[in-house]
């Protein structure tokens, strides 16, 4: 199957060919690739693509996938600490 037809990030429509091109250009970590291609920046916030991208980076760098850091998850996907909500009205 053509790499251009293999969609890795469905939110932002990023293909496997795009990921490989970014790796070839020298972007070798998740956060850098995210900034160029927007992988993981859509509504699902990387919940579907992050492990696929991680595996591609690991394969390219010839290291084990568990050594590759994925992107930082942020609110609202990462959840919110209750104390932060409780103290948000404090006016000290």
């Amino acid at each position: 199957m053509n790499k251009k037809d293999i969609i890795i990030c469905r939110c932002e429509d990023v293909s496997l060919a795009d990921i490989h091109e970014a790796l070839d250009m020298g972007y070798r970590d998740f956060e850098s690739i995210k900034r160029i291609l927007r992988v993981g920046m859509g509504p699902c916030q990387g919940q579907s693509c992050s492990h696929l991208v991680k595996n591609e980076i690991a394969r390219y760098n010839k290291v084990r996938p568990e050594t590759i850091k994925i992107h930082k998850t942020r609110p609202l996907v990462s959840g919110v600490v209750l104390k932060d909500i409780a103290e948000s009205d404090d006016d000290e």
Binding site: E31, R35, I36, P75, V77, D84, S88
Partner: protein
């Protein structure tokens, strides 16, 4: 192996990238750019992606105007294979009181005198430009149609690739730990991975510019402060310009991608390197946008984040040499480093190469803060 460089630039954010590119373009060789993290880990990638010329000080107006002139042709100038997404949808700045309107009157006069085509609008005229505005949330507005948007990631990549083509060497994941002086002159930069012999260092470290200054014994009068921002999911096109209000504390624009970015400041933010997300921001941001742009408030928020503003005493940048020979500074952008990047690179290159400077460039020197009574403060800031 002992590394050597003619110039070491600390920070591969938009300022460092523009400086590296401009130096290399003028023939400077052996430029090394160091960054403590991955590509665009700092404030550049966290900014609101707006580029505006509507300021209250002459200096900021000039820096902005010259930068927009560069953005307009950046794809061709830098021979970029993607698109920096320069879009001139304008900035619509809302006034909410008579006092604010009077200040805007002055701002428009200043901007027009410098060739910036800002117009002072009444409520009906503003509503024609952004029909979604709540008419009860403002009184008058100013609009500059040549302000707009640039994609911070892709603009940075354009500079990065162009600089690499000109021979600039980048080392990511290299955190500068110390700068060694010999007889008052720069002699070496030490990172957590290597040492580089050099006589010239550029401090373009954004939120960490103060810390880098301390390494050579300089007390740069800037501090860092967290400013939060959020993004919605992609929406059909709702409005063209950046909508902004200083008094209501909001900036909000729909970027070409379709998502909507918005931010506001926290007057209680502490001076530190915090870039976390808070519930308070989400709460206040939601209420503010719901009041001013109720249709936008119907969109779903998908992510919030924070980034450092590096703030100077007059909310204008420091672009200058310093009392330490070979140490140059580009910091204190007070939230506007992205939109001023093109002129930053041009001016600091002129300073480093000892070329004659235009009058306004001299006003960016750090020494202006020796007499705090005389500084011209910028007030048009969120």
């Amino acid at each position: 192996m002992m590394n050597k460089a003619d110039i070491v630039i600390i920070g591969a954010g938009i300022s460092g990238l523009s400086i590296a590119y401009n130096l290399a373009k003028k023939g400077q060789k052996n430029i090394v750019v160091l960054d403590k993290s991955h590509f665009l880990a700092g404030a550049t990638a966290r900014c609101g992606a707006g580029v505006r010329q509507q300021w209250a000080t002459e200096l900021n107006c000039l820096l902005a105007k010259k930068s927009i002139e560069f953005f307009a042709h950046a794809n061709e100038t830098l021979n970029y294979h993607r698109d920096i997404e320069f879009k001139q949808g304008g900035y619509l700045i809302l006034s909410t009181s008579e006092e604010e309107d009077k200040q805007f009157e002055k701002n428009v006069k200043l901007q027009n005198s410098l060739g910036i085509p800002t117009k002072h609008l009444n409520k009906e005229e503003a509503l024609k430009i952004v029909p979604h505005l709540n008419p009860d949330s403002f009184t008058t507005a100013t609009f500059c149609e040549t302000d707009g948007h640039v994609n911070p990631f892709l603009m940075s990549e354009a500079y990065y690739l162009a600089a690499q083509k000109l021979g600039v060497v980048f080392h990511f994941f290299n955190e500068v730990k110390d700068i060694i002086l010999e007889n008052g002159k720069i002699s070496k930069v030490i990172t957590d991975k290597m040492e580089i012999k050099t006589n010239k260092v550029v401090d373009a470290a954004g939120g960490y510019a103060q810390d880098i200054g301390c390494m050579v014994g300089l007390d740069i009068p800037v501090f860092s402060e967290n400013h939060e921002i959020l993004v919605t999911e992609r929406a059909p096109k709702m409005f063209e310009p950046m909508v902004m209000s200083f008094s209501k504390n909001i900036y909000c624009q729909q970027v070409p991608h379709g998502s909507i970015l918005m931010g506001r400041n926290n007057p209680k933010a502490k001076h530190n390197h915090d870039i976390s997300s808070s519930w308070r921001f989400l709460d206040e941001m939601a209420k503010t946008v719901n009041h001013i742009l109720p249709e936008v408030a119907k969109q779903r928020v998908i992510r919030t984040w924070g980034g450092s503003y590096n703030i100077s005493p007059d909310f204008q940048p420091i672009i200058s040499d310093s009392s330490v020979e070979g140490f140059y500074i580009a910091c204190g952008y007070s939230g506007h480093g992205f939109m001023f990047a093109p002129i930053t690179g041009e001016l600091l290159t002129e300073i480093i190469l000892g070329e004659p400077l235009e009058y306004y460039a001299k006003a960016l020197h750090m020494d202006r803060f020796k007499d705090m009574d005389k500084i011209d403060r910028e007030h048009s800031v969120v």
